[in-house]
Amino acid sequence: MSQVQVAHSEHLPGSDSESTKRHTISLQVENKFGAFNRIAGLFAAKGYNIESLTVGPTTDEGVSGMTIVTRGDDNVIEQIMKQLTKLIDTVKVVDLTFDSFVERELVLIKVQSTAASRSEIMQTAEIFRAKVVDISQNTLTLEATGSQQKVGAIIKMLQPFGIKEIARTGRVALKREFQGEV
């Protein structure tokens, strides 16, 4: 199953408001025809916000793993969790938000470059431990991985050079084995 990112445009700009919080939900669903549609359709039908949704295989080939980043007040999140659990194909749902968890996102950024700006771009990339994965006369394409904040930061730092295109995976997450301070 391929990685998908949906509905990024639904992400409303601005930080968490007083009542709505961003939540990262990890779920495991039976790897069956249409399972992804059931999840996406549920969010659409109930009017829940999706910031990102990624799907991929797990160690059990009958089960797909999904990471959903959403936002809402406590009542909305409670309903999202219950409605996801209610779907017949759902094996497990965990709201990682209040646990310690690792999250990563991968981004490909195609930046405009000239001979003059190229080295400065590559310096910036190095600070973020991003790799150059493609180069042309007028562009550099960088690959960066990290938390959402890190990905946001590199995009911000590269904006002055002129960003031609961006492809983001959306976030994937796993609960940390050691909970609390590590």
Partner: protein, 611 residues
């Protein structure tokens, strides 16, 4: 009722292990599930399955006249019997015509399984003839649905479909059957049991939560049991009755809860909500503990949600975790099967001293009874009351949607679970006639009565042909006021009486019934009502039709306008004459001078207080 199925039963076991087509496996699987009747309509994509029905069937197939009728009939069958109803349709338009019935079953948690034909797998997505993505279309309105892509998965999928439909919070399941898959062959082995790692509905309530609930109950002075369809679905009426009696706790029911608690009992307050009784809504407003049992705090019950039982602690027992805290935050939620949880509670609660509370409610009942008076014209409320007198509550009454539905809920005296069937959540006009037909196929022990308005009846009246063909012994009552009455009522009350497209031009309903081959009469006068109902009830060998021509502009009261509170409740405008005959809380009819007194003393009144 005639059965078109073979009377000779073949043994399904004899064909086990043999190579069979998908179509044959389908029929065998339904026999294994104990399916008695299928409501269906053939077509190109499902033709192979219909071929298998010719030779293999121990199952009665009822050819409906429109696929919507098939799904409503399956719902009626399921509600009346507690067993899943089955519909079988072809692809494309056959499948899309089931959508309203499926949505209705989803809203009202009715176990039905819909099997739809589909174009061959290799044509799916090609805009093939009569292709529709019915799995995609019904995804948000089914509990679950399946596209069978391999004949080897067919038997297991059917087993799963029935299991999912009838367990947990019941609901509709659709199984899409591509034509080529149904022609493939494999050996048939029906799974004996089913286990799904992703689906394990709760049975027992969490003991700690049950203890907390019991503590709240034992400390309450003014409790109210607010009871929904879940009590009927889980066959918990006896347990509910025992709990209410032990506590001395008054009971109000939702529309779907009608029949779960006998309205002949002093503790009954009838229905609550938008058109509930004055006293039940008032009691909910004044109670200090609201015990919600198998009910979901629907907006037609709560009105303005923040003001609903605002002073009360709340306990919510429901099998569906997502129904809890969806609309109203409760103090003690208990997820589990209603019957199991009521049994868990039974040993932990003590009888309460509710004498003052019940006396207060009795006072409210006498001050604000359900009531109406005869004017110059026949009123629907009276018709309903007379139907109740004729049946003694021993009937299955299936209503449609609108004013007659609310009047039936109010003025019929409900005493038995599964005696009341209606379209509540979705509010589907056209539900009653096919649903009553389905109920009649499932329940031959009781008379089945369909009550519709003149609008709703015309939405599925094609099923008259099915009913007459099968000589279904139904009573078909149409309450004709020449209006889409409930919309008209709203336009009168809230839209400055600007009537917009609510007056109906109607056919001659009695001639129409006769054209279908169903005998019928028209009633226009008060004096004719009782006789016509008796004629209908005594009619045997097939359906009987009665049209009641009632007052054109009449309103359902009490009414809490949508989204408002009990403080805005409009009580019946007719004055309460007193002192009354009949028991406190009894439905009261005020007769004009000269009219013969009847209907006032309902059949069930065993002791009447003196006037």
């Amino acid at each position: 009722m005639e059965s078109s199925a073979n009377t000779h039963k073949k043994k399904p076991e004899s064909s086990r292990g043999k190579l069979m087509t998908g179509s044959e496996i389908f029929v065998r699987s339904l026999i294994e599930e104990g399916v008695e009747v299928i409501f269906g309509y053939p077509g190109g994509a499902i033709i192979g399955v219909y071929d298998a029905l010719v030779d293999l069937s121990d199952i009665n197939h009822v050819l409906v006249r429109h696929e919507q009728g098939a799904t409503h009939a399956a719902e009626g069958y399921a509600k009346a019997t507690g067993k899943p109803g089955v519909a079988l349709v072809t692809s494309g338009p056959g499948a899309t015509n089931t959508v309203t019935g499926i949505a209705d079953a989803y809203m009202d948690s009715i176990p039905i399984v819909v099997f739809s034909g589909q174009v061959p797998l290799k044509l799916i997505g090609n805009d093939a003839f009569q292709e529709a993505d019915i799995v995609g279309i019904t995804r948000p309105i089914t509990k679950h649905n399946y596209l069978v892509r391999d004949v080897r998965e067919l038997a297991k999928t059917i087993k799963e479909a029935f299991y999912v439909a009838k367990t947990g919070r019941p609901g509709p399941v659709l199984v899409d059957l591509p034509k080529d898959v149904m022609a493939q062959k494999t050996t048939f082995e029906y799974p004996g049991s089913i286990s799904m790692r992703s689906y394990n509905p709760a049975q027992e309530g969490d003991p700690a939560q049950v203890s907390r609930a019991a503590a709240l109950i034992n400390a309450s002075k003014r409790p109210v049991l607010y009871v929904g369809g879940g009590v009927i679905q889980s066959n918990a009426a006896q347990e509910l009755f025992a709990l209410a009696e032990k506590l001395g706790c008054p009971v109000t029911t939702t529309l779907h809860g009608l029949g779960s608690f006998p309205e002949t009992n002093r503790l009954s307050m009838g229905m609550l909500g938008m058109h509930g009784t004055w006293y039940s809504n008032t009691a909910v407003d004044y109670c200090d503990l609201l015990i919600a049992v198998g009910a979901r705090f629907d907006d037609r019950v709560t009105g303005k949600v923040e003001a609903f039982a605002a002073e009360a602690k709340k306990i919510h027992i429901d099998i569906d975790p997502s129904a809890i805290s969806k609309n109203v935050k409760v103090d003690v939620p208990i997820v589990g099967d209603v019957r199991t949880v009521l049994n868990q509670l039974a040993g932990l609660v003590q009888p309460l001293d509710t004498n003052d509370w019940l006396a207060t409610i009795d006072q409210w009942k006498s001050e604000h009874p359900l009531r109406y008076s005869h004017g110059n014209s026949l009123r629907a409320q009276y018709v309903i009351h007379e139907i109740g007198n004729a049946t003694n509550g021993d009937a299955i009454v299936v209503t449609d949607v609108g004013q007659h539905q609310m009047w039936t809920a109010q003025f019929y005296t409900w005493v038995h679970p599964r005696s009341h069937i209606t379209s509540g959540g979705l509010g589907t006009m056209g539900f009653s006639l096919p649903a009553a037909m389905g109920a009649a196929f499932g329940r031959k022990d009781l008379p089945v009565i369909s009550i519709s308005g003149d609008g709703g009846f015309q939405m599925n009246m094609q099923e008259m042909a099915t009913i007459v063909e099968h000589k279904v012994p139904m009573k078909i009552f149409v309450i004709n006021n020449g209006f889409l009455g409930m919309v008209r009522q709203w336009q009168e009350l809230f839209w400055r009486r600007r009537y917009s497209h609510v007056e109906l031009y109607n056919p001659d309903f009695v001639k129409l019934a006769e054209a279908f081959g169903c005998p019928g009469v028209r009633v226009t006068k008060v004096a004719e009502v009782e006789g016509a109902i008796r004629t209908a009830m005594e009619h045997t060998g097939g359906p009987f039709f009665v049209e009641f021509v009632v007052a054109k502009e009449d309103n359902v009261y009490p009414m809490i306008p949508a989204g408002q509170t009990v403080d805005e409740m409009l009580d019946t405008p007719e004055p309460v004459a007193g002192p009354q005959n009949g028991r406190i809380g009894e439905r009261v009819i005020y007769l004009q001078k000269g009219e013969q007194s009847k209907g006032k003393e309902a059949h069930h009144v065993t002791s009447t207080s003196s006037s």
